[in-house]
Amino acid sequence: MRSEQMTLRPWPRRGGRSGSALLLLAGALALGACDLSVINPSEIADADLDTPTAIPGIIAGVIGDYGLGLIDEGGGGVLVAGAMLTDEMVNSGSWIGLRGLSNGESRDDWVESQLRWALPAKARWVANRAVERVSALVEAPDRNADVATALLYSGYANRVLGDNFCDATRDGGGWEPFTVWFEEAEEKFTEAIRVASNALADDSSGARIGSQMNADAILPAAYAGRAQVRMMLAGLNQDLAMWDKAVEDAAMVPTNYVFNQRFSTQGSNLNRWYDWGYNTPTRETTVWGTPFAEWGQDLALPAAQRTGDVRVQYEVMTGNFAKGRDARRPWYRQRKFTSQSAAIPNARGTEMRLIEAEAALVRGDWEAAVAKINEVRAFRNTSLTGSNVLPMVSATNIDEAWVLLMKERGIELWLEGRRLPDLRRWAVTPGKEKVPFKVVRRPSGLPDPETDERVSVYDVERMCIEVSRNEKLANPNLR
């Protein structure tokens, strides 16, 4: 980074008309040593990053941009948008973009849609650019933890794009099926695993030590991410071989593992679930009207009266905040993320067990699937007591087991951005008709808690988020 100031421009070097040269010269002489450079110590020129000392900032930027891509302020990012489109939360406010999603539509021209696409797309580009730039700055890029970190986040950025967006366009290119995100993610995760493994194997240097993540921390994150995208590719393509690969990756990740995306109030990386689902002025999203309101715990109740799964916590509000910003729908505010610095998991070991369970279901082994679900619950119970202890579940046939799995994934991964890819995948296997979840949808008008009926969660135009209108207009290959 630039230490003090940047001088971007001296007196213009070339003129348009030769006849004016004399006058310019006279003016320049009269002005003495007038230097027209602009100075702003806050600005960083691109070339300033071509130095090894810039690597920590570059890698931190990769991580930060990924976090912004998840859940930026502009309309809540893909995590909030995905929660609206699925049944994790229901809109209770006035923002058009969120209301539309909650009502089952996704439009590319909403103001909120623009950043919602742009930020994760940028996160992917920044990560890929960082791979190139850092690789050029270090001596052995194929065993460097910072290169591996950039690859890891490239993988996750691609995964997020694939999870959420209806279509794909990369680096200003033309349309591609959205599964290319998963394919690129798989490629990046694979490369991250290779580079991190090389770094760990090279004991003679400090290559395993990264500026933000060390190689040993990268490996499980990369395996978990690859398991996620392989699960998507397997489910969407009904590819049993890919399910096997997903299970192999999942097995590399212990159940107690969590790869968190950290947020902080000391900067622009804020967990906006706080703003969109917890803080009182906004009141844009409510747990009311979702299956999770039935499954979870109402923390407004005395502890002794609480029922439901401790992994889904919300609060039925009263008084001035009994209603959302729409002044209609009851406001049940989520209590999972109650600060702007709360971390959001990118991947969990428990999800790996559920990937293994789903793979078993796809192969028809529902007993194994139920066992894996109970493995997750047992793990959770190691830190729970009293009425919060999760009961073991059982099923009598594969359909019941599918419902158990779908419910378990919903609860375990609530508000973590996993619901939308789950529903996209389950639309193929086991099929939309077997997904039992109901949600409040109202295509137009203000929501009415008395009359709003629950419909299938698949009652949407497309179970995905549209690529922004800005991208479509700006990218000549999409016109």
Partner: protein, 1114 residues
């Protein structure tokens, strides 16, 4: 910039009444004698002439000598030989020498009498001039006034033969009622005459008995006549109210060169607003003073709270992305006009309003690129030049003005919701204001000064609306030598400003109250005044301008100026006062802008041939801007009463600093032919920090022509005045400081870990957008100057407009990148018409003024770039449409039934299915969603001024803005399906029929209570996410902007108060309005800082205001 001081002609004629006259009219004589002031002999004659003219008319030469030397000249223009051409390279000589040269070979002579220099025809018999300052009477002898052959005599008192009677009187400006000094008064058909003194009085003794026509002539005014009957030994009174000439071709305009130019010499239409206009207008700010006075200038207020700023656009928006407001100079010092508050409230002040209107001598509005070329980069949207008052040349004079007023928004102006009455009664108030100004002006041995101080306190019509400011101005002029003068202008303004929560704000007072009643929409209204937005600012502006004439014909001028603005803005939420953050919070934004400019220019004049003059000017200009900003935030106070960031538990900080420079040189050559035809060629070259490294420097050429047809010999004298003019020129608008460079931004992630992220993509070819403008027009006066017309047609094109091209986010940079690819076009007509509708001398005078503008604005090209949103919701920049025009779906009537435009205009195949594009979107008829422009396309200002008797003046100004649209969030939030009264409404009583409208489930918006048509019926039954376009409304508005009544207290009464003059004024502003707009205020667009925004969001209506004031001079 050159600060040309408009001279006030305040000569004091030394008059002593003849003994007989004194006896006959003692009172008059005493009054006149008390006005006497004495100067050292020849003090004006010894002033440096600073004159350099070549082959100009004798009248013009004298005018310029008067203006440039400051010496008050008294002469009768009509007596001067019209065909006399004179030259005088008199830059370094005294006024006396200059007069010697100018009058050489003519039949005229001069003499300094009292406090002025009399220029008179040499008389055959009475060639004697009083050289002594002792009491003299100026008398005149003429054989035929106006034929050029008459003779004048200024005779010493002792030389006057006492005849039958005396004629005396007062000459004042008919519009301002201010005395006119130096006017020539003659008794037609006699040899008698006189000149008015500083108090506007004249005295002509020795007039034969009988009926006479008294005629008054003054440069810049129409000639006036009265008939008086005089008996032997008596005194007759004849007072005159002169009307300004419809066209003043010799008024000097500052054009960017060292000495400015007479209006006749330049080919552009430059508007001027005089202090006289401002004094009589009920205005509290410069923004208000500019409103509705100039054709082609549109003022758009941001709201009706005390002190809220405005946006100014001249001749339509010329830029797609950059500022579309003119740059501002005060006495040659470029001032900052940024509209930044930094504390997240949609309200700002305007830098222009830091200038006290009462300190202003005149304002010049350079409307377009054709006239702004010499101002270079940044002047593409025009230039506003403010010239403050300079010291008087005569004795010290004190002035005092006190003003008190009230403001009020009528109940019906709030009437948009069922809660309007409740809101009006509980939350609006009578605004109050007071303003006091004291000033002193005078001169001491070559040093002139003007000092003034003002205190203003204004409380708005809503709680927490307050605008308190004080200003002090000190202007000084030194003339230590014949060839050197120095002007120092300084001003300081301190402002404390407070606004309620307004604009696009979920905690907004009006929004919550009108939408949700006592319970509010977002929170109870009673809680909403707890947050305070307190904004303090200080502005110090100083300029030093030196004029030096070292050698003959070569004038140099150097101006150094600085403008310093310090803002200290606080958004404060006390401990425990708000349910959002129970522990309170504070946001302190501080901003310092130091802007310095250095202008050097020089001009050299010479005669190329006996009929061809040349004026060569060149100059250098440099500007530097240091912009420092910081923000400190804190939340969670420990206990009540804490009010600083230091006392908050959680703290944050942000800071940014930037220094930007620009420099340019210019060259201008002006040729004059017979003082009738002028051709100007010029150019400016600029470099700027913000230009890309490959962009080179900017080149702005200009040319203009002016032809005073009516002064040609072939022009019949009685027809009137006609000047033809035309101009072409270019001026620029710079991009942002770093727009040319690929940059990354520093940020913080992961609990304080430093990081970088993509910022600006960069464009090394980025240069300024250059607006080229062609204008053509004429100035004309007919019917003995009773009708004056100024017409201009302009055509401006910004062909390399900076356009924020959006690149695919999938390529990593999500911010738009400026590129010189756009093309914006403005075409328009401006007309200013003045007319003396009726003139019954001494009884009734009616002047009418009409100014109007038609403007057509269009985005011709975006250089292949996609449309972008600009300005706010539903506003887009698209090819073929006005800048930031409105596009939106909405219900339209088709065969009497409402249909969504998107459905109606969808192109369908033979099966009725929509035809889809490659993105799967339905194809629709081009322009299906276009609603209208965001900027007014037509304006009209009509003012009338009635003068009844001598002392009473009544004036009124009506204006109209129209053709444009505003997105009304007021309409949107109040009139849709969901805007209903909620259960448990506290204002509803089932037993009280009067509260029926508050019954739960009833609509809250006025439009939905009884929808007036089918469009509103369905609008009220649907959500605005579907029919948002139905809440974008025409913003046409008629306003009775100003009404004023001024009474000039008779001088005798004023003297009893110890004053030399006194004026009482009663005035009103925004008295009446007519708008069809669905919302609160068709003129208010809350986002002042958003140049193209036409968005209204429960904005405060511009209040009706009444003020009363008293002005005294001592």
């Amino acid at each position: 910039m050159f600060s040309f001081r408009r001279l006030s002609l305040l000569p004091l004629l030394v008059i002593g009444a003849a003994p007989a006259a004194a006896q006959a009219s003692k009172g008059v004589t005493e009054t006149l004698v008390s006005d006497l002031a004495f100067k050292e002999p020849n003090s004006f004659l010894s002033l440096p002439a600073r004159l350099d003219v070549h082959n100009v008319g004798l009248s013009s030469a004298l005018t310029m000598l008067q203006q440039r030397s400051g010496a008050p000249l008294a002469y009768s223009p009509s007596l001067l030989p019209r065909d006399r051409q004179v030259s005088c390279s008199c830059a370094t000589v005294s006024v006396a020498s200059a007069l010697d040269r100018i009058l050489a070979g003519t039949d005229f002579q001069y003499a300094e009498v009292g406090n002025q220099i009399i220029i008179e025809p040499k008389a055959d018999e009475h060639h004697s001039v009083a050289a002594s300052p002792a009491a003299v009477t100026v008398a005149m002898s003429t054989s035929a006034v106006g034929n050029g052959g008459g003779g004048w005599t200024v005779s010493p008192l002792r030389g006057v033969r006492q005849l039958a009677g005396t004629i005396t009187g007062l000459v004042v400006d008919g519009r301002t009622q201010q005395p006119i000094a130096g006017a020539q008064v003659v008794v037609v058909g006699t040899t008698r005459g006189g000149v008015t003194n500083a108090a506007g009085r004249y005295l002509i003794p020795g007039v034969p008995a009988g009926t006479h026509t008294v005629q008054v002539q003054m440069l810049g005014y129409t000639t006036a006549e009265q008939t008086v009957t005089l008996a032997d030994g008596s005194t007759a009174h004849a007072n005159f109210e002169l009307t300004e000439r419809a066209i003043s071709l010799d008024a000097v305009i500052v054009t960017g060169t060292a000495q400015g130019s007479a209006r006749r010499e330049i080919g552009t239409a430059i508007a001027t607003i005089s202090s006289a206009e401002l004094e009589s207008a009920p205005v509290t700010s410069v923004s208000e003073a500019l409103q509705s006075r100039v054709a082609g200038m549109t003022i758009m207020p941001s709201g009706g709270n005390a002190g809220q700023g405005s946006r100014i656009v001249l001749r339509g928006p010329t830029s797609l992305t950059g500022s579309i407001e003119p740059i501002i100079y005060v006495d040659g010092v470029r001032i900052d006009n940024s509209k930044i508050n930094g504390i997240d409230v949609d309200a700002t002040t305007t830098g222009l309003d830091d200038i006290n209107p009462e300190d202003i001598e005149r304002i010049e509005i350079v409307k377009g690129a054709s006239a702004a070329t010499l101002y270079g980069t940044e002047a593409g949207a025009g230039v506003i030049q403010i010239f403050t008052k300079q010291g008087a040349r005569d004795a010290q004079r004190w002035s005092l003005r006190s003003e008190y007023g009230i403001s009020h928004v009528p109940r019906e102006w709030w009437d948009v919701s069922i809660y309007s009455d409740w809101f009006y009664e509980n939350y609006t108030r009578l605004g109050k204001q007071q303003k006091h100004t004291i000033g002193v002006s005078g001169s001491l041995d070559g040093f002139r000064y003007n000092l003034s101080g003002t205190y203003n306190n204004q409380n708005g019509v809503l709680p927490n609306s307050r605008n308190e400011w004080g200003s002090f101005r000190a202007n000084m002029t030194f003339a230590p030598g014949d060839n050197f003068s120095l002007l120092v202008n300084t001003g300081y303004t301190r402002r404390d400003w407070q606004v309620p929560e307004v604009g696009n704000n979920s905690n907004g007072l009006i929004y919550n109250a009108l939408r949700g009643g006592p319970r509010g929409q977002n929170r109870p209204v009673e809680q909403l005044s707890q947050r305070e937005y307190l904004m303090s600012s200080g502005r110090f502006t100083a300029g030093l301008s030196a004029t030096y004439t070292p050698v003959h014909n070569f004038v140099h001028r150097l101006t150094v100026g600085a403008d310093v603005v310090n803002q200290d803005n606080i958004s404060y939420l006390p401990f425990g006062s708000d349910l959002t953050t129970a522990d309170g919070s504070i946001n302190n934004y501080r901003r310092q802008n130091l802007q310095t400019n250095l202008d050097y220019s020089a001009s050299y004049k010479t005669n190329l041939t006996p009929t061809l003059t040349s004026n060569t000017a060149f100059g250098i200009q440099a500007q530097h801007r240091a912009h420092l900003r910081s923000r400190a935030t804190g939340s969670r106070f420990a206990i009540p009463g804490m009010k600083t960031v230091r006392s908050a538990a959680n703290k944050g900080a942000w800071e940014d600093r930037e220094w930007v420079k620009t420099a340019g040189v210019f060259l201008e050559e002006q040729f004059g032919f017979h003082n009738l035809f002028f051709l100007t060629l010029g150019a400016r070259w600029d470099g700027h920090s913000a230009f890309g490294r490959e962009a080179g420097y900017a080149f702005y050429p200009k040319t203009d022509v002016s032809y005073v047809v009516s002064e040609h010999s072939f022009w019949p004298k009685d027809i009137g005045t006609l000047r033809l003019r035309s101009a072409f020129g270019m001026a620029g608008k710079q991009p942002g400081a770093f727009d040319a460079e690929m940059t990354w931004a520093a940020t913080s992630v992961l609990e304080g870990v430093p990081a970088v992220t993509t910022g600006n993509l960069g464009n090394p070819d980025l240069g300024p957008e250059v607006t080229q403008e062609f204008e053509i027009g004429f100035d004309a006066a007919f019917l003995k100057d009773r009708i004056g017309i100024e017409y201009t047609h302009y055509r401006s094109d910004t062909k390399d407009a900076l356009y924020a091209v959006r690149y695919p986010a999938s390529n990593g940079f999500i911010n738009t990148q400026l590129s010189n690819v756009g093309h914006v076009r403005n075409r328009g007509h401006e007309l200013a018409l003045t007319a003396v509708v009726m003139d019954i001398p001494r009884r009734f005078h009616w002047e009418a003024r009409f100014t109007g503008m038609l403007n057509s604005n269009k985005v011709i090209s975006l250089g292949g770039g996609p449309p972008i949103t600009s300005g706010g919701w539903s506003q887009w920049i698209r090819e073929g449409y006005p800048v930031s025009a409105f596009f939106e779906d909405r219900y339209i009537l088709v065969n009497g039934e409402p249909v969504l435009a998107s459905e109606y205009y969808t192109i369908r195949d033979e099966h009725g299915n929509p035809v889809l594009d490659h993105n799967g979107e339905p194809v629709r008829v081009e322009g299906w969603d276009y609603i209208g422009p965001a900027f007014p396309t037509r304006t009209l200002n009509v003012s009338n001024k009635f003068t009844v008797g001598r002392n009473l003046t009544i004036s009124a100004l009506v204006d109209f803005k129209g053709g444009h649209y505003i997105s009304s969030s007021t309409s949107r939030w109040l009139n849709y399906e969901g805007a209903r009264v909620l259960d448990g409404e506290p204002l509803y009583d089932p037993n009280d029929p009067k509260t029926e409208k508050f019954k739960p489930g009833n609509p809250t918006g006025k439009q939905c209570i009884d929808p007036k048509d089918k469009i509103w019926e369905i609008t009220c039954q649907t959500d605005w996410s579907i029919n948002r376009g139905n809440h974008i409304h025409p913003a046409d508005k008629w306003t009775l902007r100003e009404v004023s009544l001024a009474y000039r207290v008779p001088r005798v009464w004023a003297r009893r108060m110890g004053a030399s003059s006194a004026t009482i004024r009663l005035a009103g502003r925004n008295i009446w309005r007519h708008q069809k707009y669905i919302g609160l205020e068709a003129e208010a667009t809350y986002a002042t800082s958003n140049a193209r925004g036409a968005q209204s969001y429960f904005d405060t209506p511009l209040p009706r205001m009444f003020v009363g004031s008293v002005s005294l001079t001592f």
